[in-house]
Symmetry: C2
C-alpha cells in the first residue's frame, strides 16, 4: 500500500465517519433528544444486561466500548443520571468504584431510539461492498 493509497483510505474513512456521525447526531437529537455518545452508552448498558447478572457496570467497563476520556464519560453518565436514564450506586466490594444501572426510562428511551440508529446506519452502510 503506497502512502497515497493510505492517505486516500484515511480520507474516505474520515469523511464517511463524519457523515454518519452528523446524520446520527441530527436524527437522534431531533427524534429522541439523545446525543450519539449518550445513545452509545445506553446501548452498551442494554447489551450488557444479557451478559452481566445484575446489569450493573463499573464506569470503567463502559469506557472500553465508548471512545471517550474518563472525564467525559464521568460527565456523560452524570447527564444520563440527571435525565433519569441511569442510576449511580456505590459498589460494596470496592468503594472507589461506581455501578451504573439502566432505569426503565433509560431502557424505554433506548428502545425508541434504536430503530432510528439502525435506519441511519443502514442508509450509510448497507449495500456497500466492504462497509
Amino acid at each position: 500500500m503506497t502512502d497515497n493509497e493510505v492517505v486516500t483510505t484515511w480520507r474516505e474513512l474520515s469523511a464517511r465517519h463524519a457523515a454518519i456521525v452528523s446524520d446520527l447526531e441530527r436524527e437522534l437529537q431531533d427524534r429522541h433528544e439523545l446525543g450519539v455518545s449518550e445513545f452509545e452508552v445506553l446501548d452498551r448498558l442494554v447489551e450488557g444486561v444479557c451478559l452481566s447478572a445484575d446489569g450493573k457496570f463499573r464506569v470503567q467497563e463502559l469506557a472500553a466500548g465508548v471512545s471517550l476520556s474518563q472525564s467525559a464519560l464521568s460527565r456523560l453518565i452524570a447527564r444520563l443520571e440527571k435525565a433519569g436514564f441511569v442510576l449511580r450506586s456505590m459498589c460494596a466490594d470496592d468503594r472507589r468504584g461506581v455501578f451504573v444501572t439502566l432505569t426503565d426510562a433509560g431502557r424505554i428511551r433506548h428502545s425508541e431510539a434504536l430503530p432510528t440508529q439502525r435506519r441511519v446506519l443502514r442508509e450509510h452502510l448497507a449495500s456497500t461492498p466492504q462497509g
Copy 2:
C-alpha cells in the same frame, strides 16, 4: 447485509477512526504543535496550490475538504493566521469572500508535520486488506 452486520461495521469504523484520530492528535501536537484539523486545513491549502493559479482559497472552498461547521472553520483559520501559517485577505471580485493563503511558515510547518501524519496513518492502515 443484516442489521447486526451493519452495526458491527459501524462499530469497527468508529473505533478505528477514534484510534487514528487519537494517535494523530497526540503525535501532531507533541511533535509539531498542530491539531489534526489545523493540519488538515494546511494540507488542503498545500494541495490546492497545485490546482489554483495563485494559491488562494475562499473559506468556503476549504470547508468542502474538512468536516467542520462554517463557524469552526472560521475560527480555525483565525488561529492559523494568529500562528502565522496563513494570511486572510479580501477578494476584490466579491468583497464578502475571504481569501486564505499559505505563508512560508505555514508551508514549512506542514512539510515538517507531513511525515509524522503519514507514519501514523501507515501504522494504522497499511497492510490491512480493505483499509
